[in-house]
């Protein structure tokens, strides 16, 4: 007792903890952060200094070039006169030729159409990119290809509308037969669609066009160029390669040896050769393999080859997704009594595709960048436009860096955007899992 009282009397002990003292000067504030992060050891300091020096070199090389740049000149000679020996870019070439860089030789009066198609493309992609948006918008995504085609190539509206009708016909056939066999119904639907397109679209479209001539000024494929062609090739081939890629991936996983062999051979062949050789095939060899007398657009031939190329890679990405699914999912499907197509469609593919989204996005970025290779087979994409008509014009012969920097920047903006979006998607899907 007395002990306690003594303690109470000698109230020596604190009742509440001391407030934490600030760390010593050397361990806080920006100074500490700098020291701890950047100069924690000799090696680290050397790295920091090297990095700073590299940044200095880059900035000192690029900044004067951009700041002194000439934006208003009529030719490279004019540019040189204005710069008068200073280091600076001749950006006037971009100011004068940007429509060609973006649209190629697309008729000037029709730029609005191309822009509208571009804006609508984003509207169509939105429901795919942002899951929060109402699902009804997917209808627009489905219809967009036809609107986009009509806007860009022009001509009568009845062709894309009838093409759409063809798909509806195919779908109706599919729905009608779906009960019997999914695969058979799919084939029958595709066949019906092909027949409709092959036999009916032409005559009906010309008939309707003569009755109600709703048409836009037609534009030839060869007039399309610049970034527009990179965009068209990128989006079309990407979208087309997805279903083909899924089919190939399923084929590769299949138990049927011949189907599997065909898919494996196709995938390995395409993945084994550089895209540029496939483009050579599109530009010089494909014509030989078609019946004598037929010939179609270079752009269409290129779309075919790039789609084949992309779908092989896509197949591998999706196969990765399929392989990553636990075996239990397959077994669960079987135990519910679902047949192969049902379990694929309802259980396996939705999950596998979700897993493969990051790789699919990487393929999309790669594909978009690879569309620049078409410049090698004399298509006027943005690089073809730069290396061909613009750099050989009497006014601008001798300009070099400015145009390539511009093209690089445009690609960077789009690809970086896509990759950032994919990271966002990855994070979102990750949290959904946990």
């Amino acid at each position: 007792m007395s002990d306690t009282q003594a303690e109470a009397a000698l109230s020596f002990v604190r009742h509440e903890p001391l407030p934490p003292a600030p760390p010593p000067m050397a361990y806080r504030g920006p100074v500490h952060r700098v020291r701890h992060n950047l100069f924690s050891s000799v090696g680290n300091s050397i790295m920091t200094i090297a990095a700073l020096y590299a940044i200095y070199l880059l900035v000192s090389a690029i900044v004067p070039w951009v700041v002194n740049g000439v934006w208003d000149a009529s030719s490279i000679r004019d540019c040189r006169a204005q710069l008068d020996g200073k280091i600076g870019g001749c950006f006037a070439v971009i100011a004068e030729r940007w429509p060609q860089l973006v649209f190629g030789n697309y008729p000037k009066a029709q730029y609005g159409r191309a822009m509208l198609a571009f804006v609508l493309l984003f509207a169509a992609l939105a429901p795919l990119l942002f899951i929060e948006l109402p699902r009804k918008l997917l209808w627009f995504t489905g219809v967009f290809p036809f609107i986009g085609y009509w806007l860009i190539w022009g001509g009568t509206i009845w062709v894309p509308i009838l093409a759409l009708v063809g798909i509806v016909v195919g779908y109706l056939v599919f729905v009608r037969l779906e009960r019997q066999s999914f695969f058979g119904a799919l084939m029958a639907g595709l066949l019906a669609m092909a027949l409709f397109w092959g036999l009916l679209v032409g005559p009906i479209a010309s008939g309707l066009a003569s009755l109600v001539p709703l048409r836009l000024e037609p534009v030839q494929s060869r007039e399309i160029g610049g970034f527009m062609i990179n965009f068209i090739l990128g989006t079309t081939c990407m979208a087309l390669s997805l279903p083909i890629g899924i089919a190939l991936a399923l084929g590769r996983q299949s138990d049927l040896p011949i189907i599997k062999a065909i898919c494996v051979m196709f995938i390995e062949f395409i993945r084994g050769v550089p895209l540029i050789t496939l483009l050579f095939v599109a530009s010089v060899m494909l014509a030989y393999f078609l019946p004598p007398g037929t010939n179609f657009d270079l752009i269409l031939r290129v779309i075919i080859m790039i789609t084949l190329f992309a779908s092989a890679y896509m197949a591998e990405a999706i196969r990765g997704g399929l392989a990553a699914l636990p075996k239990g999912q397959y077994e669960a499907g079987s135990s519910l009594g679902l047949d192969y197509w049902q379990s694929m469609r309802l259980i396996i593919l939705p999950q596998a595709l979700k897993i493969s989204i990051p790789s699919i996005v990487n393929i999309a970025i790669g594909l978009f960048k690879d569309t620049t290779l078409v410049s090698i087979i004399s298509m006027f994409d943005v690089l073809g436009m730069i290396g061909g008509p613009i750099l050989s014009s009497t006014d601008w012969f001798g300009v070099y860096w400015e145009l390539y920097a511009f093209a690089g920047l445009m690609f960077f903006v789009f690809c970086f955007g896509i990759s950032k979006y994919s990271q966002y998607l990855e994070r979102k899907l990750n949290t959904a899992h946990r």
Partner: protein
């Protein structure tokens, strides 16, 4: 009495080909097989008809014809009087050369950058992410053009080395960095040099044996050997001794400015360097991402466990994290090697004479045999890719985690 209706149908009906899951597979395969055969047959038939109509034929005879053009970068002797076939071989070797060099440097760059991106050093980490993003998001073709052009503008021309007070000097008086390439001294193998080389190879084997022994010692007796100094000693001393004993049999031929260019020494051409740098930097950015992903995939607990054992950060990386990350990194790494090899076909943009530049470029243009040339080109790349893919599969099988 016996229920006839219960009798299993043993008979085979045609309808079962479609409706019976046992046979449906065969039907599909049969149809697919013949569809493919028909499709290819149709294409070949078209090609035959088209070629006949144009009065052309498919013939690889042009490969025996005289090429008529010169190639600067060559690993085997080649002059303009050699055949197109030999030109194609020169191209094949050049493709393999740049692919091989590129894979090595891209790996080094990729691993370094991948690790540095995770560094605590804010500036370095940011700089590395900028590098990765900038290279990954701009087409390779643009990079090749830009890098080649930067090199030829930043490095001095050989004429800058001329005169009383030249603007540029050779590094150590023996290496010339010019915008036409890099000139380094060429070793001259005199009599007795084989012995020096032999001694050098033997010392390499000895170093390998020493390391094996050191590990053995560490595991069995817990003793450590000073491996590094011993290795360096083994590497240098015997070779130097042999060199002087044999009377300095290995000389150096220095490059010297004669006429328009440096003569003598080994020239590494500017086009090779440009392509090499561009491919390495581009592929390196992708490899860096795989490396980063692989390192991050190693669970945090592994690092913490290693820390609690008292390992230092560098050791944790090299002994604990990287070996585990490698299993995740290697498959994408090899597919990057594959991509690099295929991307080397863009060499034509800088005038590097790889297979696409010789067979698919000048030979194709000279002879007009595009059909044959493109077929050969595809076959070549296919063989290379299949070889790399084969190696990859073998490797995957060996490093696969042996679970359960």
């Amino acid at each position: 009495m016996s229920a006839v209706s219960d009798q299993p149908k043993s008979g085979f009906t045609l309808g079962m080909l479609v409706n019976d899951t046992r046979y449906r597979g065969y039907t599909f395969q049969f149809i697919a097989f013949f569809a493919i055969i028909f499709f290819f047959g149709w294409m070949i038939w078209n090609a035959v008809q088209n070629l006949a109509a144009l009065g052309q034929d498919i013939s690889f005879g042009f490969l025996g014809g005289q090429a008529g053009y010169d190639i600067n970068q060559k690993l085997i002797p080649f002059t303009s009087t050699d055949t197109h076939f030999r030109a194609a071989i020169v191209g094949v070797l050049n493709t393999l050369l740049v692919a091989f060099l590129g894979c090595i440097t891209a790996t080094i760059i990729g691993v370094l950058v991948g690790i540095l991106r995770l560094s605590n050093n804010w500036i370095v980490a940011k700089l590395m992410s900028v590098y990765v993003e900038v290279f990954r998001n701009v087409p390779l073709l643009i990079w090749i053009l830009i890098i080649f052009s930067i090199m030829s503008n930043a490095l001095p021309a050989p004429s800058a080395f001329r005169g009383e007070s030249p603007e540029a000097r050779m590094v150590l008086d023996s290496i010339a960095l010019t915008n036409r390439g890099i000139y380094v001294p060429r070793p001259l193998w005199l009599e007795g040099s084989a012995i020096v080389v032999g001694v050098f190879l033997l010392s390499l084997i000895a170093i390998y044996a020493l390391r094996r022994y050191a590990i053995h010692l560490l595991f069995t007796q817990g003793r450590t050997l000073p491996v590094l100094p011993l290795s360096i000693g083994l590497l240098i001393v015997p070779t130097v001794l042999a060199y002087f004993l044999m009377g300095s049999p290995v000389g150096l031929e220095y490059p010297a400015l004669k006429g328009f260019n440096f003569q003598g020494g080994i020239q590494v051409y500017g086009s090779l360097i440009g392509l090499w740098v561009a491919l390495s930097l581009y592929t390196g950015a992708f490899i860096a991402e795989s490396v980063r992903g692989g390192i991050q995939a190693v669970s945090r607990g592994q690092t913490e466990a290693a820390e609690s054992l008292g390992l230092r950060p560098r050791r944790i990386m090299s002994l604990v994290v990287l070996p585990q990350a490698l299993r995740i990194i290697i498959p994408p790494l090899i597919s990057q090697y594959l991509n690099l090899t295929k991307n080397s076909s863009l060499a034509a943009a800088v005038g590097y004479m790889d297979i696409t530049g010789t067979l698919g470029g000048i030979t194709l243009n000279q002879t007009g045999r595009s059909f044959e040339a493109v077929l050969l080109l595809m076959a070549f790349y296919l063989v290379i890719s299949l070889c790399i893919a084969g190696v990859m599969n073998i490797y995957n099988a060996t490093v696969k985690l042996k679970e359960r």
